[in-house]
């Protein structure tokens, strides 16, 4: 798997902000620091929790997660871990922003693509949902909907996203989720030849371009809430040679006519919304499908270990310290039930093996998670 390397050859596409020597080393440092926080400091906290949990579990407490948190707060290393977790994330964006701002002019020039294959439709009157504007998701300054008329917020998200994933999601292309969704599609419908495909919550198009790669004949659409992100997504897709139609709208209710797509999918969107919005998004994906069409919603591994108090606390902390508005809601939902309520048939829930190329990847889908980054949770259904 291609990680993040210092080599120039590792650049995935011309739109990605190119760091100087120092900026790159700083970004790699932040990446390493995040790994240290997650893989060295966090396991120690898990061990501390393991010592405390039996007493809490035995006490018949009504709020075991709060109790655990309270008890852990008396350990200094617990608070240190949390502040470093937050600080390393803030440092990540700071490092990326410097690098993007320095080359703002070049990026704008690159974004002015002649004779694009795809399109970009922005809505100046668009109002982003509360859960997007309430806090900066992932602590990205300004948030997803931030727009100053440039492509810069998108550029920050692209470079930051690749570093944020620690190079484990397809290096600088950061596109394994999209490919995994396509691999799932071809697992459940090996002969499908979709005419129109929609990626809901496409961000800067990392998950959208794979649909165009796997189905070059299809008309591929991507929607999201942020104008800067979409401007950047458009330029990025063009530079990657993918024809994609990007538009600014909410996945909860789009302007597309009903029954106008063969495939509608989303990748790691639901945990950044709200429980109600997630239901609306599933319903909208159902409305947009032609009879027989397929919807796919991909998420991070669910909290199957519910009842494990430490897992619950750790997920609460992730939501709180990394601004994930619906982390718990999305990871504890009963997707089979939600998909049925949305009117789907042929419903599946499980784990799709991570695909580097959706078309050629092994079609591996099963009940058990193969671990973070090795497989993704997927629910799918037919209209």
């Amino acid at each position: 798997m291609s990680g993040i390397a210092e080599s120039r050859a590792a650049l995935a596409h011309p739109m990605i902000a190119v760091p100087t020597h120092d900026e790159l080393v700083e970004q790699l440092f932040v990446r390493d620091l995040k790994l240290f926080v997650g893989q060295t400091l966090e396991p120690a906290q898990q061990k501390i929790a393991a010592q405390i949990v039996p007493a809490i579990a035995g006490s018949g407490s009504n709020s075991p997660v709060d109790d655990l948190r309270h008890r852990m707060q008396s350990f200094e290393s617990f608070t240190t871990w949390l502040s470093l977790k937050r600080e390393s994330q803030r440092q990540l964006w700071a490092a990326v922003e410097d690098c993007v701002e320095r080359q703002a002019d070049q990026l704008e020039a690159l974004a002015a693509v002649d004779a694009p294959k795809g399109t970009l439709t922005l809505d100046p009157d668009f109002v982003a949902p509360d859960y997007i504007t309430r806090g900066d998701i992932h602590l990205m300054p300004g948030g997803n909907a931030h727009d100053d008329g440039s492509v810069l917020q998108g550029a920050v998200m692209d470079r930051g996203g690749a570093v944020y994933m620690l190079g484990r999601n397809g290096g600088m292309l950061n596109d394994l989720r999209g490919h995994t969704a396509m691999a799932h599609l071809l697992t459940v419908a090996p002969d499908i030849r979709p005419i129109r495909i929609l990626d809901m919550g496409c961000g800067i198009g990392t998950s959208t371009v794979p649909a165009a790669v796997c189905f070059p004949e299809a008309e591929v659409h991507g929607i999201d809430v942020g104008a800067s992100m979409l401007r950047y997504a458009h330029a990025r897709a063009e530079h990657l040679g993918a024809a994609v139609h990007f538009s600014q709208q909410s996945a909860e209710r789009t302007s597309f006519p009903g029954a106008s797509f063969d495939v509608v999918y989303s990748c790691v969107v639901l945990h950044e919304t709200s429980p109600t919005a997630a239901i609306n998004i599933l319903a909208e994906s159902r409305r947009l499908l032609r009879p027989g069409g397929i919807a796919i919603h991909l998420e991070v591994p669910l909290l199957h270990t519910l009842g494990d108090i430490w897992q619950e606390l750790s997920s609460e902390l992730e939501a709180q310290f990394n601004n994930e508005p619906n982390w718990r809601g999305a990871l504890t939902a009963d997707y089979g039930q939600l998909m049925r309520a949305a009117g789907f048939t042929d419903i599946r829930t499980g784990y799709q093996a991570t695909a580097f190329n959706g078309r050629t990847a092994p079609r591996k889908f099963g009940e058990a998670s193969e671990g973070v980054f090795r497989s993704w949770f997927v629910t799918s259904g037919r209209a």
Partner: protein, 84 residues
């Protein structure tokens, strides 16, 4: 502590910058050579190791403090002592 560290790093940076400028002036380095440097696989591995080494060294006290807390938590009555 952090103030003196910051001042030390600032001095270090200035000195490195001086070196680079002198090397460019003496035509040992082309302008921008450092910024366009692209390590090969072996150099990359060594540089990854260097970064890792520094990180572990600087943050080792945090790891040790965490391990001490783990040890304290596993002593039966230690939880109370810590809270006191």
């Amino acid at each position: 502590m952090i103030v003196s560290l910051a001042s030390e790093v600032t001095v270090l940076r200035a000195r490195l910058d001086t070196c680079e400028r002198l090397l460019v002036a003496a035509q040992v380095l082309a302008p921008g050579a450092v910024d366009s440097f692209s390590p090969d696989a072996a150099a990359q591995a060594e540089r990854d190791g260097l970064r890792q080494h520094t990180l572990n060294k600087v943050f080792r006290p945090l790891q040790e403090a965490a391990m001490a807390d783990v040890a304290a938590a596993s002593r039966p009555i230690a939880g109370k002592e810590i809270q006191a």
